[in-house]
């Protein structure tokens, strides 16, 4: 199970990239995609939508279930990964790269700092396991 050191995490298994010009990329973790199984469909938020951390903003549907994805940070949605509509399996194949979900312009640049680091997320997953 990969948990890259350069990302931040939530206990609900979203990852957040380091901010670049006040913007972060969001996806689900390797652990999450493994638990979900083959992803067959993704429902993404609207570009321009305002999101608050903890809001359900996307849905990832696998052959087993459909799971809500929560906004890990507050801000506005700047972009969504349109490629997932045709190739949702990118979430399984490449959860931290090609399988990204959406980008958020942060309303508080410091907010990602309050999320779990790789070590903290590792512990959270072990607790769940």
């Amino acid at each position: 199970m990969q948990i890259p050191d350069n990302l931040r995490y939530t206990s609900s298994h979203e990852w957040v990239s380091a901010p670049v010009d006040g913007m972060v990329t969001v996806g689900i973790t390797d652990y999450a995609q493994d638990q979900l199984g083959d992803v067959v469909y993704v429902e993404l938020p609207a570009v321009g939508a305002a999101v608050a951390s903890g809001d359900p903003v996307a849905v990832v549907e696998s052959v087993k279930t459909a799971s809500d994805i929560y906004a890990p940070v507050s801000g506005s949605v700047e972009a969504v990964n349109e490629a997932l509509h045709d190739a949702p399996e990118a979430i399984n194949d490449s959860p931290y790269e090609g399988g990204w979900l959406f980008k958020v312009r942060l309303s508080d640049e410091a907010e990602p700092g309050s999320l779990l680091d790789a070590g903290g997320y590792q512990q959270a997953v072990e607790k769940e396991g």
Binding site: Y41, E43, A46, P56, V59, E61, T65, A66, D68
Partner: protein
């Protein structure tokens, strides 16, 4: 398939498990006055007396006689094979037996239904049916609002008034605004569609019977990024251009004209068929074809992650059931008639409706407008529509769905003819209208 009721022991154990005293305690939330209201019923009859009583009630019905009633439900030919097959005991159940292990027959029949509805409408994906045409239309509006993330719908006044009433009930609670498009010369003018409109809803043929310019209306909707919802009589699609052919995104309607009797207004079923891009937004049950462990063809419910039992409050719709039996009637009927039989029924309806309109014009009646129509049209009348209907009924002719004042036509009724209407029936209606003073020489107003 057998159904086993819960034994007293089952109930006792269930209550014990959840820690509730009695079944009644489960309904504590409801006011006591609503739980067991006093209903003033006569004493129970024995079977012999009950049958005699029911026969005497049934004798008040007058189902026979020339019938020109339309306005949403119409009498069409139903071959005897339809009820014979559809009413096999395996199919007649209030439950929806969808477990693939035991219900391959019903699942296959539903799959056939979906396939036929898809072919009829020219759209990719049909659900397993819905409750009726009105709720299917409301679900179409909700789908469009989800898909476009817009909160306003445009609905033609040509959509059946009862369908619009149900639409209003659904959308009011969701703060989705409804704007109504007035008719011009009995049909929907091509509107300016704003970019905040989720969908344009038009009925073809419309409530007054006229044919709508569906391609142009669809183009106007799409130009604004709105979806096009076509509310259609499925039987008409044997002759008219199917919604898929003019680019409509969603076809909905009531399926009664496919193999179901009018039965004083129901039960019938609704249908909903969508373009493939909307598959994930489609509410309701879907049956798919697959293979079992031995590689044999099998049928199962599919894409259930959209549904209430998985997604709870975030499901695409609260609809997780359908009108299986009446949809099955349609399936058997479509299979029995085939494309040719369906075309003949539709063509017979068109022919008789136009014959009736011509005869009425010959007699000086005010057949409203020059609009093209299918198997229904509007007749301006001297007295109110409901008075005309009652007067005709007294003469043994069933005709005349009143047209409401919202249409600005003055007194008017909708008349329908189907392939079951004979030339003699038409003469009987013409004669009855003359007798009740609704034809030329009787001073018909041209309001």
């Amino acid at each position: 398939m057998p159904y086993l009721p819960h034994s007293e022991e089952d109930v006792r154990r269930a209550l014990e498990t959840i820690g509730v005293e009695s079944v009644d305690a489960l309904f504590d939330e409801l006011p006591a006055s609503l739980r067991n209201p006093d209903i003033d019923l006569p004493p129970a009859m024995d079977e012999t007396r009950l049958l005699a009583h029911l026969r005497s009630l049934a004798a008040h019905d007058r189902p026979e006689g020339p019938n020109f009633l339309g306005g949403g439900m119409r009498r069409h030919f139903i071959p005897s094979v339809t009820p014979h097959l559809a009413l096999q005991s395996e199919f007649v159940t209030a439950y929806t037996p969808y477990q693939p292990e035991v219900a391959q027959g019903i699942l296959q029949a539903t799959f056939e239904y979906q396939t036929m509805m898809s072919e009829l409408t020219g759209l990719a994906v049909s659900n397993a049916s819905m409750y009726d045409g009105a709720t299917a239309t409301a679900e179409a509006a909700l789908l469009a609002a989800r898909q476009t993330r817009r909160e306003r719908v445009l609905v033609s006044r040509g959509v059946h008034p009862e369908t619009r009433a149900v639409l209003g009930t659904y959308l009011e609670a969701l703060d989705i605004r409804i704007d109504t498009l007035d008719l011009e010369t009995l049909a929907t003018p091509v509107p300016m569609v704003d970019h905040d409109v989720a969908c344009v809803i038009v009925q073809q043929p419309n409530f007054l019977g006229s044919l709508e310019a569906m391609p142009a209306l669809t183009e106007a909707a799409h130009a604004a990024g709105a979806l096009m919802v076509a509310v259609v009589d499925p039987l008409s699609l044997a002759l008219l251009k199917p919604p898929g052919a003019y680019g409509a995104d969603i076809a909905v309607g009531d399926g009664q004209t496919l193999g179901n009797p009018t039965a004083y207004g129901g039960p019938s079923f609704g249908f909903m068929v969508v373009a493939s891009a909307l598959l994930r937004q489609l509410p309701g049950r879907l049956v798919g074809e697959t293979v079992d462990v031995d590689g044999r063809r099998a049928f199962v419910l599919t894409l259930q992650a959209r549904e209430q039992h998985i997604r709870r409050s975030k499901a695409k719709s609260n609809i997780c059931s359908n009108h299986q039996l009446t949809a099955l009637m349609a399936t058997v009927n479509l299979a029995a008639l085939g494309p040719q039989g369906l075309r003949e029924a539709a063509a017979g309806s068109v022919r008789q409706a136009h014959r009736l309109a011509d005869r009425l014009r010959d007699e000086g009646a005010d057949v409203a407008g020059e609009a093209r129509f299918f198997n229904e049209f509007t007749l301006r009348t001297r007295r109110s529509g409901s008075d005309v209907r009652s007067a005709l009924a007294e003469r043994g002719v069933h005709a005349g769905v009143p047209v409401g004042s919202e249409y600005g036509l003055g007194n008017a009724v909708v008349l329908a003819a189907t392939e079951l209407v004979s030339d003699d029936d038409i003469e009987a209606l013409v004669a009855a209208l003359a007798t009740v003073g609704e034809l030329a020489g009787s001073g018909v107003g041209h309001g």
